[in-house]
Symmetry: C2
Subunit: 244 residues, 2 copies
């Protein structure tokens, strides 16, 4: 581990982090995709994840603002466009709001984020701060969880359509649009980190950035489980009994 790795070895180590730490391994996702979640649990998941979704373009704009190369900015700005869309009602955030509406959540409640779990807020903000404060290499590396997202999205669409009568293909439009974007984006980011992590320390920082990002995703599911599966809802968070 004290030598610089060949790119394919670095890629193998990144994929190994995904295989052991990505949130497809979390019990909440098994529960969600396996049809074991109550409607309240699906709502809590959709409500909390809205905050994550809504901050992704802010995170990407933070990275964009740090890039000095126009070609790199042209590549990265597509991420902002994917989530914000070309017009009102278009883009990933609008599609997530379509999902939250589809599971019966009030749009204003969702957009206000006032009912989300504090752990969701802290994890998402940790991600934005990480992308502002660490090296550009680490910020780009932290996006690499997208390497693993096409698989989980496939499991999610199949599982949710099969198990929940309140979920329709239309509700899940966010997920059907994502895999080609995630594939394109993660191909680019993987190539970037393999070409730009020259030293052992840089390669280690890339691996640590991906572990950090896996933690950001895992913490959100731990918090959902603790609050809505175990029933320890913290003060101020959304209560399934209140108006959805």
């Amino acid at each position: 581990m004290n030598d610089v790795m060949a790119p394919q070895h670095l890629e193998a180590q990144l994929r190994q982090i995904g295989a052991t730490r990505y949130h497809n391994l979390h019990p909440f996702h098994r529960r969600l995709h396996g049809g074991k979640c109550s409607l309240a649990e699906v709502r809590a998941w959709a409500l909390n994840r809205y905050y994550y979704q809504s901050m992704i373009p802010a995170k990407d704009a933070t990275i964009l603002a740090r890039m000095k190369d126009p070609a790199l900015r042209r590549e990265w700005r597509r991420r902002v466009i994917d989530h914000d869309g070309e017009a009102e009602g278009d883009g990933g955030i609008a599609r997530w709001l379509h999902l939250t509406a589809g599971v019966g959540l009030d749009r204003d409640l969702v957009i206000s984020t006032r009912g989300i779990l504090p752990a969701t807020r802290f994890a998402v903000e940790a991600y934005v701060h990480f992308c502002r404060e660490r090296t550009l290499l680490e910020a780009i590396a932290s996006s690499l969880t997208e390497l693993f997202s096409p698989q989980i999205i496939g499991e999610r669409i199949d599982g949710m359509l099969k198990h929940y009568d309140f979920v329709t293909p239309d509700t899940l439009a966010y997920f059907t649009k994502r895999p080609p974007q995630a594939q394109r984006d993660s191909d680019f980011a993987l190539d970037y980190v393999c070409r730009n992590a020259h030293t052992q320390a840089e390669q280690q920082s890339v691996l640590n950035a991906l572990k950090f990002k896996c933690d950001v995703l895992w913490v959100q599911l731990d918090a959902l489980w603790h609050a809505y599966v175990e029933g320890h809802i913290p003060p101020g968070a959304w209560q399934p009994g209140e108006a959805a």
Copy 2:
């Protein structure tokens, strides 16, 4: 709620937040003080809280760096001195390391923070970022959980000494030193926010800052409970079975 409150009304609302959201109400603290925690759970608590303790002077230095008034800085710098001490082995952080050693944790493991829960890290960093990014009034208001700490510390010292044979008065030196400091600091901060929150919006920001800080503390105990009481330890976090 649309009018500016009298100072005593603002203080009453702050104390009401403490009465409903401070972490003395969390089941983990009842478990800790009531003698129901295993040694592994006490160790996990001490290990994770070390990160919180160790970042408090960084948080206070962040606030200090934003103060333009020498008199205010003279007041606030005492907090940094309390935690960092006058010399090696002195101060709140050193006393916390005395506590972690007393419950059998390796000093290097503790100081490295490599085994802490990601939720602990994100919550503590959210606190530091809050004090850097919000108004000085909000940053000072977020310290007001200390209004409620003398009571919890009293419960903790009594409960832990009574219930755990591995805890001695010497181990708990951190807590015996804190109440007069917390009293002095929270008297100052309470007076400051009451004198400087002039508008309804400022008063609301003060109340929200205290709620935020209660969330920072609560999230840490939720994460301990989920990981070490329920047994869902996230990838990479300290395992009770490994060398303590």
